[in-house]
Symmetry: C2
Subunit: 290 residues, 2 copies
């Protein structure tokens, strides 16, 4: 959900606390007393990240879930969230969805701000958690010889989006109400060499681990668990929003959660990412706006 590369690159120069990993790594990790605090902030914009006219209850759910998913990838247990809410139509539905998602995860709303707005609405959410394992998992620890794993299935959010867009009546839950893999992240944190959530597409996110770790990730397309048929493979791997956990484990270590082995980490090669032995064609990530 990061935008304009130049702006983000410039912002990174402002992250002048060398102990803090932010923007580059979705979450910030700061030490406080004997604890490590994990913080993340994501925004949603109407018409960009959610359909115009989407049920505000779904927007609230997604806003919370995508941030909790960032915590999950750090093995962090949520302490609470802060909400930035632009007032508008159907705020009762927003509240209903917020209630649902906070109750589902047992996460308190700690505070926030509400503002008047016009035109397209925007929401921001900050999630705060405490690390359950140190060092906190990051994208940068994958080593040659590790196995690559992913939880759940890839492509479910894409199908949900298409069901909404095309008004087919098919199930759109995976797109509207993604799940944050908090329990899985906590169970995996002591074992993984690298971990992140799949928010921008399996290929793009895999390439991010490769870049951060200085290795090549080699994926086997036939091993990747798809929520759709193989004819949709190209798009499913480039879509995002599934919020499954993508992680690397040392060879021989079995994950304590349901997950599928999808490839192997190699020494850094001419490209950071291989799919069935070749550099993937075209864009790695899919622009999945409306």
């Amino acid at each position: 959900m990061k935008g304009e590369a130049a702006f983000v690159a410039a912002l990174r120069h402002l992250v002048y606390d060398p102990a803090a990993r932010g923007l580059a790594d979705d979450c910030a990790v700061i030490e406080l007393g004997n604890e490590a605090l994990v913080l993340t902030h994501d925004m949603l914009v109407e018409g960009v990240h959610v359909f115009d006219g989407a049920d505000p209850a779904d927007i609230a759910w997604k806003l919370v879930a995508v941030n909790l998913s960032d915590l999950a990838a750090k093995g962090a247990r949520p302490l609470g969230v802060l909400l930035g809410h632009m007032l508008g139509d159907r705020d009762d539905r927003f509240l209903a969805g917020l209630h649902d998602v906070l109750n589902h995860y047992g996460v308190p709303l700690l505070g926030g701000d509400t503002v008047a707005g016009e035109g397209r609405r925007a929401w921001g959410l900050t999630a705060v958690g405490r690390a359950t394992h140190r060092p906190v998992p990051s994208r940068s620890g994958a080593r040659a010889g590790d196995a690559i794993w992913v939880t759940g299935e890839i492509g479910a959010a894409m199908l949900g989006f298409e069901a909404l867009r095309d008004k087919t009546g098919a199930d759109s839950t995976a797109y509207r109400r993604p799940m944050a893999r908090l329990a899985e992240g906590e169970a995996l944190a002591p074992l993984v060499t690298a971990m992140m959530d799949v928010s921008d597409g399996l290929l793009l996110d895999s390439s991010r681990i490769a870049e951060a770790s200085g290795v090549t990730l080699s994926l086997d397309s036939k091993a990747i668990p798809l929520a759709t048929h193989i004819g949709r493979l190209h798009y499913a791997l480039r879509w995002g929003d599934d919020y499954e956990l993508l992680f690397t484990l040392p060879e021989g270590v079995k994950p304590p959660v349901k997950a599928t082995r999808i490839g192997k980490v190699l020494e850094a090669g001419s490209t950071g990412l291989l799919l069935d032995g070749n550099e993937p064609e075209g864009e790695l990530g899919w622009m999945h706006g409306t």
Copy 2:
């Protein structure tokens, strides 16, 4: 900077962690290990909280400063901020202002999100700090017999706003680049019975301490340090954006920072706020949008 009362009231029901004080109190306070963490999130919307066409460098400054001011009122030392930024024109100026304010306060940018947007832009900022004194100052501790104090002068931001609006060329710094009273807040935290920052007007914010504490605040208009002449008193007391600290001290306790005594806390009366012995006329807070 809180909007629609009904929405906020409904949100408060979602704040189901009784240890967390949020929305009602601008900042959330959560315990983590041996530390107390203080969190706040404010949004700014173009045309609502900042002039259309305002220098984005000033927007960035204000966005950070108003959140740090919330930490100051808690005696908290900033650990960092997370930014939600809607990309748009003159982002280079935004970055310049962000650099200025973060350097000025020595506060790291920990992370955040950037999103594409259209129309009026919105920004969100979360500031995280650690409490330097426990219990963390709140609005609810003022007791009858306490003296009421305020740092700095009231009305400077109003004058700055008018200078910009009327293009008089007069100094608008106080409106564009408010200062967060972090050092003062930290020095005061061990002494105060209640504290908050003056963001929505001295009268309105005083009434909030009165309400939270179950007392009456009795202000002496002649004692209030004004940045303007006495003819502007009515508006100066109802304007906000000065981000001075308003606090109560037990009678006889001298503040360790430059501040002015402006009144006395009384047992709860028929009204929470008295100005020169009478209930103030009209609205307590000033709607200072453009």
